[in-house]
């Protein structure tokens, strides 16, 4: 059966079971990618996937059930399973199915024409050639990948809300492996957006440059250093710690920012914005995963913490309005909270200006093991890192085999300069991504030799 027929069947079973408040959440995604090894196509992957989640309110609790299989039996099963699950819940957070009446933002959608499979293959083969052409130290194992995808999302509920959204994107990345005859080094460059805008030579050049840049690295003595975090690294840190800004985490006692609204939590040069329609985002959101309208807001304004991110339930508990940040991690997940384009606002000054200001220190361009070495509940981080020395105000030799340690909230207070080079994490193809300019922080603990 198709989605419309499945939807009708679900409504029939919900009504038959006297369920008055319910929602059906639907996602569909198509993705195609091609991977090159040596000079040939190694892999070609194409997937068409869909998922449907039913949730309903029973005795003030929200029960969920989901499926990927649109049949009459599954339509009945997800209704019965959701009812059964609702009966087991003991949550003290109120439950909502969103009402009609929000005013939704709008934006002009850019038309992305999906490339043909052969265009994709040609692009990736050419990119692979470009990578090898960059430097004679490039070796086999180097890989070029190109792909495109599209998604559809729809929310339909018992209050008559009926919303739909869709989007498309292309992406490419190059993973270059180089050798100095002794060891191997790899480097990466990622682009997302429209394939027509991707410059193969530039992607290849950046990946190889990244790989070559670490040749001859050394460690540094353990101690406290002045550090410049690259825009990419700062965006990654922000991403790991973004859950501290979630009202759900705060209400459950899992956020260090609990009860801190209105307080100074960062350096006065920090303004943190959440923008569902940020101009260059590949996908934008005018409604959240509960169907509530989204809008742009500052979360930190000149160092002051202004608001948590809310969904309907956390907002009701806190006695405020939702900020339109209701979010499902996947179609089957219960509603939680997430940001959109979430970024530290650029101030002024180039990267070189930050190096000059640092004088002597370390420029961190890489951090690894975020899911293990950075704890959002304590705020502590201790991360394997790499980058370059800063000597007499200039970037010099490569550094690796070190860790950086600290606490995220302390770091936000210790930022003494913010650059102008705002960059978003290029891996995030969805509407939910983090961005930052490069920042200067004094007194970061580094473990090395």
């Amino acid at each position: 059966m198709n989605y419309q027929e499945f939807k009708n069947a679900v409504v029939k079973y919900a009504t038959a079971n006297e369920i008055k408040d319910y929602e059906l959440y639907y996602t569909k995604s198509d993705e195609t990618s091609v991977e090159i090894f040596q000079t040939e196509v190694k892999g070609f992957n194409s997937s068409n996937n869909l998922g449907i989640c039913f949730r309903c309110i029973l005795n003030g609790q929200t029960g969920y059930a989901s499926t990927e299989n649109m049949t009459e039996e599954e339509a009945e099963s997800i209704v019965l399973r959701a009812i059964e699950n609702a009966k087991s819940l003991e949550s003290e957070t109120p439950s909502f199915i969103h009402k009609q009446g929000d005013t939704y933002l709008s934006y002009e959608k850019e038309e992305i024409v999906t490339p043909s499979a052969s265009t994709l293959v040609d692009f990736a083969l050419d990119l692979q050639k470009e990578i090898y052409a960059q430097d004679e130290r490039v070796i086999d194992g180097t890989q070029a990948v190109a792909g495109f995808g599209s998604f559809e999302k729809a929310i339909f509920n018992s209050n008559g809300l009926d919303l739909a959204d869709s989007g498309k994107f292309d992406y490419t990345y190059a993973m270059a492996i180089v050798t100095d005859g002794k060891e191997m080094y790899n480097g990466m460059e990622v682009k997302s957006g429209k394939m027509a805008d991707f410059d193969k030579t530039e992607v290849a050049k950046e990946a190889v440059k990244d790989a070559l840049s670490t040749i001859g690295y050394t460690s540094v003595d353990s101690g406290a250093y002045t550090v410049v975090f690259s825009n990419k690294v700062m965006a990654s840190l922000l991403s790991v710690y973004s859950s501290v800004f979630s009202a759900e985490a705060a209400q459950k006692g899992l956020s260090l920012l609990k009860d801190k609204e209105g307080e100074i939590i960062a350096s006065d040069i920090i303004t943190l914005t959440d923008d569902p329609l940020y101009k260059d985002a590949l996908s934008k959101a005018t409604f959240d995963d509960e169907g509530a309208a989204t809008y742009t807001k500052n979360i930190i304004e000149n160092g002051k913490f202004t608001t948590f991110l809310h969904n309907l339930a956390t907002a009701a508990k806190a006695g405020v309005k939702t900020t339109g940040n209701g979010y499902k991690g996947s179609y089957s997940s219960p509603v939680g909270i997430n940001h959109y384009s979430f970024y530290i606002n650029p101030v002024k000054g180039s990267l070189e200006d930050l190096f000059a200001e640092a004088g002597n220190g370390i420029y961190i361009t890489e951090v690894e093991g975020m899911h293990a070495g950075a704890d959002p509940i304590s705020g502590d981080f201790s991360l394997s890192s790499g980058g370059f020395r800063i000597e007499d105000g200039k970037k010099t030799t490569p550094v690796k085999g070190i860790t950086i340690s600290g606490n995220f909230l302390q770091l936000m207070k210790d930022i003494s300069s913010v650059g102008e080079d705002l960059k978003f994490n290029p891996f995030a193809l969805s509407a939910h991504r983090c961005g930052s300019p490069s920042v200067l922080v004094k007194n970061i603990n580094i473990a090395g030799k």
Partner: protein, 460 residues
Amino acid sequence: MLLPQNLVKEALWKASSTGADYAEVFAEYTNQKNISMVASKVDKIADGIISGVGIRIFKGTRCVHGSTSSFSPEAILACAQKVADALSGAREMETITLRERRFGDIHPIRIVPASVENATKIDLLREASETAKNYHSDISQVTASFLDVDHNIMIATTEGLLAEDRQIRTRMMVNAVASKNGENQTGYHAPGARMGMEFYETFDPKSVGEEAARQAMVMINAGYIPAGKMPVAIGNGFGGVIFHEACGHGLEASSVALGQSVFAGKLGEQIANPKVTAIDDGTIPNGWGSINIDDEGTPSQKNVLIENGILKSYMIDKLNGRRMGMASTGNCRRQSYIYEPTSRMTNTFIAEGSDKNDDIIASIEYGLYAKSMGGGSVNPVTGDFNFAVNEGYIVRNGKICEAVRGATLIGKGAEILKDIDMVGQNLERAQGMCGSSSGSIPTDVGQPMIRVSSITVGGR
């Protein structure tokens, strides 16, 4: 059978129409339930069916993969056609004959979790959660979850294989937060097994909450570790994540076949200290990472990866095996039908050695005892790995002293293997989820206590 045999045959026939020398249909129907609790109250229940079909074809070392969420014959055949369209040769295979094989199930399940009502699972979880909460007045929050998965797979290939497996797993997880003077620290414990509800008869659920809370309390009262290079004793169980990250990923054929691993081309060479013997064994009865057959239908086996420091075997899937000229070792795995499968670990551990645990601690003049490890990651190309210490102690003059927080261990896989210079005798395995290109899959890590003679410890 998840799909009718004639439909599977038709899909294989279509998929192999453009010159493929191998075609494979993988069908899946998975029921997954996750009950989560906050402050001992049931907060959310996710209850989902994951179902669909993944189709793969090979021509030499070239691979095409496609997937669809639908079980309808039209969608499956359309997927097969789409996969075939990526090649442009003439048919090579003349006929396809499927022979059903029953590999058997060495993982008995006494009580299938899906047949048990929520209330029973909630009672077990609440016991664990409340024990954590009541452990100490500084425990400010406890979150807990109860997971059960019923993963049904069917694999058919043009080699003639037709096989099925049903993989049932359950896991209980408790996270405790201790708060003091505006600081938070967490503790975590999450045992799991390829078992049914009888798993919870093998231990007291209270012990899960107690362990999580104990760890959070130790860490909230700990200071930060001073950074530097030092000898480290790594505790048993989840400590085995060091081998998983530092070496395991580098022994997966997906890295080795492409020359992307520092261990490529080193079979028969001494790559580790002679004290190190490491094994990947998917045949451990009811083990969390165990499988009867892998996701290509190859029966799982016990693979000795490193014996007395000498590299003996990689973990190999069919596709990368072609590139390497080696047979599959039964290690091909995927999170679901959506992911293209590749070589992955199952239950991977360092075998018991000859050193006494007390001697390991006594041998350290100044260093770290990493009693409990968190997760980590690795770059297989360079071998650079990192992982977090969840519970650590300073060792001074051969004695375990004060607890320290914030430690991360970093190094290079090839070097660390040589620096494992003592291996103890209390092998234990622990459960984890391993994320890589073919998705997130259950794997066990494990080891007895070991000593690494020198490693960089991140701290402040």
